[in-house]
Assembly symmetry: C2
Homo-oligomer: 202 residues x 2
Amino acid sequence: MSESDAPERGETTDRIMRATYCALCRHGYADLTMQDIADESDLSKAALHYHYESKAALLESFLEFLLDSFRERVDAVESDGPRERLGALVELLFEPPGGDADAEFRTAMLELKAQAPYAPALRERLAEFDAYLRGELTTTLERAAETGLLRAEVSPETAAEFVVTVSSGAHTRRVALDRETTAAESALRDYVDDLFVEEAAA
Amino acid sequence: MSESDAPERGETTDRIMRATYCALCRHGYADLTMQDIADESDLSKAALHYHYESKAALLESFLEFLLDSFRERVDAVESDGPRERLGALVELLFEPPGGDADAEFRTAMLELKAQAPYAPALRERLAEFDAYLRGELTTTLERAAETGLLRAEVSPETAAEFVVTVSSGAHTRRVALDRETTAAESALRDYVDDLFVEEAAA
């Protein structure tokens, strides 16, 4: 893909990604076919195959698309310091790309995670997402540590891994048990607060 | 099922439960058939259907069986006080029933969680498991609070929910990303330690 044809390619890609999203919501991951995705767009199945050689390749691109969208939202975070940035990142973790109404999409994503052991390329994309998140959190926590905001015994890497784990568990329980994530989110905020040295004003 | 035929029924049930475990490991949840389960036992498919009217009913019983096994292991925990009991419970959370080698089983369990939105009876069993865990953790934390061991601001219920969420996330990431749970387990131990007031000897 050259830069010069990016606009047109980008438009078709966006349409296919939106169609994939809708098809995942409607059919779930396990039973999804290229025809299902074509049916959600104004493209033919043949046109889809022109862009993606297989369903697996399309879903791989779809995960990349989700990661890119997430990256954009992370980049758009404006915050005054590492503590505020951390709060904003935690907030993003509980705002899945599809918005609140998309229980079906969250279910499809969990199905996809359960299939990852059989699909190395998908697992790689999921791992990339996870590593990106941990990286952003670790960097932010390291910045906090450098300016003396973190408690001395806190390891930025360990704390970052913990935050990602809580977010993953909250989403799994939401799908499996229909359990609201609000309690987990609020406990996670308390956990993150406790990483910081107490403020003089406290 | 009357109590009087429990021993014999119990033996057959055990054989079916073991066969279900093996069949889930070999075939995963999505493609599992009653024949697959029969193939892992010395029972015919007809005999299976005599005990369970459908695959869904059998899997429901299988989840009950897992919950019972977990309950037995929790009951067997011998600990000197609430703090030690909490440590033992956290340890159990990271020791899945099938032992360490059963990556396939863990994958099947995550598949099953992803299917829960379509299978109310399975979701109910998963919710029962989750509630049992939260209950045990909450009770233990409440005992700690009563004896003045917990920091004043700690809510036993919120902390219990958090511990269950971390455990769920660690297991999801283990399946999806093949990520070891050791870091999450160790961070969770630190979190639990921090719920307690600092010891005089510290």
